[in-house]
């Protein structure tokens, strides 16, 4: 271990997990920095759930090491992890309060502490009056809130959320998103597993993309987008462009509805292009570099790895 370790809440080193006859996790290594939101991405069956189950100590890796806050995973670590699986589940016939109290105690909280913390969370979500309601009487969105509270009530240093927004209406999704940011502010780290790339771009600082149990991409979202950029620019303008306009070696990809899209070469600057545009006496409304969306990168990478 090196001295940087404590910087990371979670660190995986060469983790391998094989089931009967297929390798679900193949030599996976990545770090989740403290106080960040980290995206674990991959198509269905990529090995995300297998990885999460190793991190949550539900199963053990065949080889490789997993460190939580610099320590190899041990029996006490589950109390420091909050996990919301994609397949949500609560006891349907149990009351909200009893259920949350039970789950919080299983995470190592004393009954007294759990009650105080639960009160705080239920008040925060304005659902304190649900304490005596049965889960079967709640709507899907409502029980999702209860599930979220169960995941975070014990103040874990690592929170693992598997598709946290699925099945939520935009209002509740926003509510949960705000909570995620607040938890991050308070120092928690979030491992966020999803298919929804627009959410990843919005929320995550770093990502790892896996397919067939292997890492395809790993790094900061901004860096990755930069790495995959195609040197495209978009210009929105008013008026008509002179036909003799010199585009300075840029190729026009499209010119549609007063939006021009150019494509250049790596290393080429946009200075000359912008100058020429300004000289052409059209009214420039905007000038942007077009970065690839994570969705595009995701599809591209997964498709090449499947080939």
């Amino acid at each position: 271990m090196n001295n940087e370790k404590p910087m990371n809440v979670l660190s995986l080193q060469n983790v391998v997990k094989t089931y009967a006859n297929h390798r679900a996790v193949n030599d996976v290594s990545f770090d989740v920095k403290k106080g960040t939101i980290f995206g674990l991405l991959g198509p269905n069956g990529a090995g995300k759930t297998s990885l999460i189950r190793i991190i949550t100590t539900i199963t053990a890796a065949d080889s490789g090491q997993v460190y939580l806050n610099g320590q190899p995973l041990n029996r006490l670590h589950p109390n420091d992890i909050g996990y919301m699986p994609e397949e949500r589940g609560l006891y349907k016939k149990m009351k909200v309060g009893e259920q949350l109290l039970y789950l919080a105690q299983l995470k190592g909280l004393s009954s007294k502490d759990a009650k105080v913390k639960l009160r705080h969370w239920l008040e925060k979500f304005e659902i304190l009056n649900w304490w005596d309601k049965k889960i079967s009487d709640l709507s899907k969105g409502m029980s999702q809130k209860v599930q979220f509270i169960a995941t975070v009530v014990h103040d874990p240093s690592l929170i693992i959320l598997d598709e946290p927004f699925s099945g939520l209406d935009p209002i509740n999704a926003n509510l949960i998103k705000d909570e995620i940011f607040q938890l991050k502010e308070k120092g928690a780290s979030i491992l966020f597993s999803t298919h929804r790339m627009e959410q990843v771009e919005e929320i995550c600082e770093d990502i790892v993309l896996i397919n067939h149990g292997k890492i395809l991409l790993y790094g900061g979202v901004a860096n990755i987008k930069n790495e995959f950029k195609e040197h495209k620019f978009s210009v929105k303008y008013e008026g008509s462009l002179p036909e003799s306009l010199n585009f300075g070696g840029y190729e026009i990809v499209s010119n549609h509805a007063n939006e021009l899209i150019f494509k250049g070469q790596s290393g080429q600057t946009s200075i000359q292009l912008l100058k020429n545009l300004l000289d052409s006496n059209v009214n420039i409304m905007s000038f942007n570099e077009i970065l690839p969306s994570l969705n595009e990168i995701f599809i591209k990478k997964v498709e090449t790895s499947n080939e």
Binding site: D62, P78, A150
Partner: protein, 437 residues
């Protein structure tokens, strides 16, 4: 350990605070009493139509004595048969009992006639026959000049008195009967209790798998802790329920007796129907049974029975938990998988029955030492005082095997609870045992 206790608490509290549990626990003893009262009522109900029967006894065989009973009224009449048949036609009487004279004082059989278009009920027939039989007996005794007392002295009550040779213990002819009854009842109760609560453990496991809370749970505690907590919790519910029943049964019985007059005298009491001497021996037998029950070595039987119940419950319910983890939504899968577990359970109850008759048969002795069978067969044998070495082997082997089964079940359970969509077969289950964590 702390987490096992949390699971135990939850399983226990959600069950005992459940309305269905409270209702069944409180109402079951009441239900059993109502059922027993109903059975008693049905059994004691003879024909309920009032009948008037004329008795035509020209030879005076009955000496004008024939006690009317319940709904039967007997009237002696010396009118001619024809005249009486007219009465029948006019529906003034329901039948005519015609008693021909007894010609031969040593006759082995006697035939009387009953004139009517309706037949007598069985119990009515029986009463009439025994009344006539008694009169004929008296008549014969008189004819043969035999004193009734002398005759009674001819009857001898023969009983066996078992005496031990090497062991120093008191046994009586009742010992075997009491032991058999006790063994049978305990064996049967164990069978139902283990089956009933084992199934509850299975359902509880299935519930967590189906509603998908399982993944949240086992990210907080080990599958083994969850399984053990469950088994313990349901087991405590069982002990609570049985405890409440043991307390409630006598209370409800006495309250019922006081309120509704369901007392022993109102019930058809076999003692009432017997002649005094037989009744006397019966009563002495009853007190003998009580003595016998009191002389049983309860300090030895009760803790051991409890041990066999707990060990049997743990072994079977762990297996039920393993099965529950393997099946998903489809309850039919559960049925086919539980069958092999039910086999030793059913097998042992049959061996238990045979052990009641022959507690020292080699079948009973061996099965009381084989784990899974022993948890039912040995409690059946306990009242018969089996040798210490057999109990020793039985207890040790059951403990070892139960620990092994719990371990085995936990291996299957930890894999099964996370398996969806795979049809669970025994082949599959046996593979799971060897899966790495």
């Amino acid at each position: 350990m702390n987490k096992i206790w949390l699971v135990t608490q939850r399983e226990y509290l959600t069950r005992v605070t459940n309305k269905t549990f409270i209702l069944t626990t409180l109402l079951a003893p009441l239900g059993i009493l109502v059922f027993m009262a109903a059975v008693v009522l049905v059994m004691s109900t003879g024909s309920d139509k009032a009948k008037i029967i004329n008795v035509y006894d020209p030879s005076g065989l009955l000496q004008n004595e024939f006690k009317s009973r319940d709904n039967l009224t007997f009237k002696f009449s010396n009118e001619s048969m024809d005249a009486q048949k007219v009465l029948y036609k006019e529906k003034k009487i329901n039948g005519i009992l015609e008693l021909p004279p007894l010609t031969d004082s040593l006759a082995k059989s006697y035939v009387y006639k009953y004139h009517s278009d309706d037949q007598l009920a069985m119990d009515e027939n029986f009463a009439i026959e025994s009344a006539i039989g008694k009169k004929i007996r008296d008549f014969k005794l008189k004819k043969l000049n035999i004193d009734a007392k002398t005759l009674e002295n001819l009857d001898t009550d023969v009983q066996a008195e078992p005496v031990t040779i090497l062991e120093d213990k008191k046994i009586s002819s009742i010992t075997t009967i009491v032991s058999s009854a006790l063994g049978g009842i305990v064996g049967y109760a164990m069978f139902f209790i283990i089956l009933f609560y084992g199934m509850q453990v299975m359902r509880s496991v299935m519930e967590e798998k189906i509603n998908r809370i399982i993944e949240v749970l086992i990210s907080s505690l080990k599958p083994f802790e969850l399984m053990m907590g469950k088994v313990l919790g349901v087991g405590l519910v069982g002990l609570t329920q049985i405890g409440i029943w043991l307390i409630l049964m006598p209370i409800i019985y006495f309250i019922g007796a006081a309120l509704f007059g369901i007392n022993t005298e109102a019930m058809p009491n076999p003692v009432n129907d017997m002649n005094p001497e037989v009744a006397l021996t019966f009563q002495s037998k009853a007190s003998q049974i009580f003595l016998e029950l009191r002389s049983m070595n309860w300090w030895f039987i009760l803790p051991l029975t409890l041990f066999y119940f707990l060990a049997g419950y743990f072994a079977y319910s762990a297996l039920f938990a393993a099965i529950g983890s393997a099946v998903g939504e489809d309850i039919n899968d559960a049925n086919s998988l539980t069958f092999p577990i039910m086999m030793p359970l059913i097998f042992s109850i049959y061996i238990g029955f045979s052990a009641v008759n022959a507690p020292d048969s080699s079948l009973a002795v061996w099965s009381s030492m084989i784990p899974l069978l022993s948890s039912i067969v040995m409690p059946v044998r306990l009242p018969f005082d089996p040798p210490w070495w057999q109990i020793g082997i039985s207890v040790v082997s059951l403990i070892i095997f139960t620990i092994f089964l719990v371990w085995l079940a936990a291996r299957i359970y930890r894999v099964g609870i996370l398996m969806y969509g795979k049809k669970a077969t025994f082949k599959e289950l046996s593979k799971w045992i060897f899966y790495k964590d």
